[in-house]
């Protein structure tokens, strides 16, 4: 039996509708995408949907209270909320440098959490 799944590509703001047909978990056809990236997205979305996680972590002694962070790559969608639980416990000390690794491994995905902004250390008055 062929299963049909209608997806919306999120790879760019165009947001193409893509039709994926699978048979016993195997992809038999992908249509509607307007570029290669869309095909890749549909393939993954139909089998193992993944997302980049962006959030903030608390900063100690910084000029800002929090620093923006992101997963350095996509993690499985169902790991988003567990990863947030892990990140909640994290506090970093300023200075924070953009790109610096905050957590080595997000929820066993092997993907690190990195800083997506710089925060300077607060100068003592």
């Amino acid at each position: 039996m062929i299963e049909r799944k209608e997806l919306t590509c999120i790879k760019c703001p165009r947001g193409c509708g893509i039709l994926v047909e699978t048979e016993q978990g195997r992809i038999v056809s992908i249509s509607g995408n307007q570029c290669k990236n869309g095909k890749e997205y549909a393939k993954k979305e139909a089998t193992n949907p993944t997302r980049v996680l962006t959030t903030t972590v608390k900063v100690l002694f910084g000029t800002e209270k929090v620093a923006a962070v992101k997963s350095k790559g996509e993690i499985p969608k169902e790991k988003l909320l567990p990863a947030m639980e892990q990140i909640k416990e994290v506090q970093v000390e300023a200075p924070v440098i953009l790109g610096e690794i905050i957590l080595e491994d997000l929820c066993g995905t092997g993907i690190p959490l990195v800083a997506a902004a710089c925060v300077a250390r607060k100068r003592l008055p």
Binding site: T55, K65, L80
Partner: protein, 326 residues
């Protein structure tokens, strides 16, 4: 009085990109004025990805996208002041600035670029019956709370309006542990990008209630809930469809308008449709030597387009200054 060839008002992506391109054109004397305590503009609070696909061929977060431009400004040693709010501009290009620690200063410019961005529509524009209890915020204010101040506006949330900021906040608050009850949209179609509906609402099973609006706000001190009603094709609430939804926070995502107090003071001709100043293809306003770019001209969906437009404004302002000299 301080003197600069080019004064740029606003240190968001528009102001930064304009400064960068004016310097590329050979303008040495440039000053960027930013009222916030850092450069980057609204991008500092837009921590989600989706920036820079066109300009850098990468999906960056807002702060990362801003950092690319801030780095250029620092490399090129372009001067800027933060915590410096422009309060007036005269037609002969004198700029009055309130600078933290320095007080009022006046700067004479040869050319000016307006890059003040936009702000959210005031909530007063919305007529919902009920008291005005605590717990009602604009979506952008909530974004500032969570992403800059690190505090949550509430735990049980209803979002009215399905523009991109509302959608992005639905996901953000869910990730932080809040219960987002629904996003209500009065129109039959969402104004947000399709990709945001997928990755911000569908990923987390947050209902999008199209053709629905809030018709009553419950609670006196703090909001206790809202009444949601279906609307007909004339956007009028249909009686009998009311549903009470308990919540401690209501976010309003009702759109943005260009920030044009200064442009109006300057007496620039305004475009009724975009709510920004009328500009030529070269991004010059109807006052010679005053240019504008970014969200101050019209609200852009993509920061990439803002940077591109600002580059044009930077080049035009540079040409204006260079021609003056000859």
């Amino acid at each position: 009085m301080l003197q600069y060839d080019l004064v740029i008002i606003g240190g968001g992506p528009a102001g930064l990109s304009a400064a960068d391109s004016a310097r590329e054109m050979g303008i040495k004397s440039i000053l960027i004025l930013e009222r916030d305590n850092k450069l980057g503009g609204i991008l500092n609070q837009c921590i989600h990805t989706g920036f820079g696909l066109h300009t850098f061929k990468e999906e960056l977060t807002g702060p990362e996208y801003a950092a690319r431009y801030i780095d250029k400004i620092q490399e090129k040693e372009i001067e800027y002041k933060v915590s410096a709010m422009v309060i007036n501009i005269t037609r002969d290009k004198q700029v009055t600035v309130m600078e933290k620690g320095a007080g009022l200063i006046t700067i004479q410019a040869k050319a000016i670029i307006l890059a003040m961005g936009c702000r959210e529509r005031p909530r007063g524009a919305l007529n919902i019956p009920g008291y005005r209890p605590a717990g009602i915020y604009s979506a952008g204010t909530a974004q500032y709370f969570v992403n800059i101040e690190g505090v949550m506006p509430g735990k049980e949330i209803v979002i009215l309006g399905s523009g991109d900021i509302g959608l992005i906040m639905a996901r953000r608050l869910t990730l932080e542990g809040a219960d987002v009850k629904c996003v209500a949209e009065i129109m039959p179609k969402s104004g947000g990008l399709r990709r945001n509906i997928v990755q911000c609402l569908e990923d987390f099973d947050i209902p999008l209630k199209l053709s629905h609006t809030v018709t009553y706000i419950h609670g006196k001190e703090r909001i206790e809930g809202v009444t949601l009603s279906k609307v007909d094709e004339n956007l009028e609430p249909v009686s009998g469809t009311e549903e009470f939804i308990p919540c401690d926070t209501l976010l309003l995502s009702v759109g943005l308008i260009p920030e044009n107090e200064l442009s109006k003071k300057l007496g620039l001709s305004m475009d009724e449709r975009t709510k920004g100043p009328v500009v030529t293809k070269e991004m010059e306003t109807m006052l010679s030597g005053v240019f504008a770019c970014g969200n101050v001209v019209h609200v852009h969906d993509l920061a990439d387009n803002v940077s591109k437009e600002a580059k044009k404004a930077g080049i035009s302002a540079a040409r204006y200054i260079l021609e003056e000299k000859i």
